[in-house]
């Protein structure tokens, strides 16, 4: 059985994140920041989250007749021993957006759009760490007979 489009997209997301030289660890298995080796910061943990699907064109008039909006959630960790995590946090948010927008050709071939929708932080409550989620809306088309 061929992989679903959602599966292919997440493979491409993992590949794109691995291309970012300033991310030292990418994993789908979320770990607590205090359990993570210091050499693995900044770290990124992607997960394919909620998804909304709807018919998009009359079924007999196109191959890709369903539109799906997949929520991509990237949980990110940065660490600075001096407690100045703002630079690292902003750099990482920028690097991920740039990768998705400019260089992730494999991913962009699969989707209609992948756009950032929200960044949610820990509000500075964790000393020396910045823990935040980058949320993306991934729109893609697929055929109802072959999800």
């Amino acid at each position: 059985m061929a992989d679903s489009k959602r599966m292919q997209i997440m493979d491409a997301v993992l590949s794109a994140l691995s291309n970012i030289s300033t991310i030292f660890y990418v994993s789908e298995r979320l770990q607590h920041w205090e359990e993570l080796d210091g050499s693995k910061f900044p770290a990124c943990f992607p997960i394919d989250a909620d998804e909304r699907k709807e018919p998009h064109v009359l079924f007999e008039s196109a191959t890709d007749d369903m539109l799906s909006t997949l929520t991509l959630l990237l949980t990110c960790y940065v660490y600075d021993s001096a407690g100045a995590t703002r630079q690292a946090r902003c750099d990482l948010i920028k690097a991920i957006e740039e990768e998705f927008a400019n260089r992730a050709s494999g991913l962009n071939a699969l989707v209609v759009s992948i756009l950032p929708t929200r960044v949610t932080t820990d509000r500075g409550t964790i000393d020396n760490y910045s823990i935040f989620d980058c949320e993306y809306a991934v729109e893609y088309l697929y055929d109802h007979t072959s999800p």
Partner: protein, 130 residues
Amino acid sequence: MAIKTYKVGKVVIEAVQIHELLTATLTLTLGSEDTQEIGESWADPTGLGKAWSTSLTCKSDPADTAQAALRTEFVSGDGVLSATQYWVDGSSYFSGSGALVTNMAMGKSVGGIDSVTFEILGKGAISWNA
């Protein structure tokens, strides 16, 4: 149960199916006029000319053959089509002979997929084929 849904049907322009259809509407009309006296009598309208028109909205695909034919007809042709078919399912359809492309509108919106709308006005009879 013989109801139809968005899962079946198509529109064919000049023998080529148009793709990426979002909405398709076929409207048949009969003009009417009442010839009764003004006053207390009840209306008894008389049928005048019949007409048909089609409105199509698609995701814009400039390379699609039927979309391109409509665009070309409107932009550089005389706007006249020789064959339009509106299929309600896999075997039944309305078939119009001559038609005029009267409107083309393209749209972009933030976060959306580009769309194009065509309005087609029948120039002659339409027939039902089952």
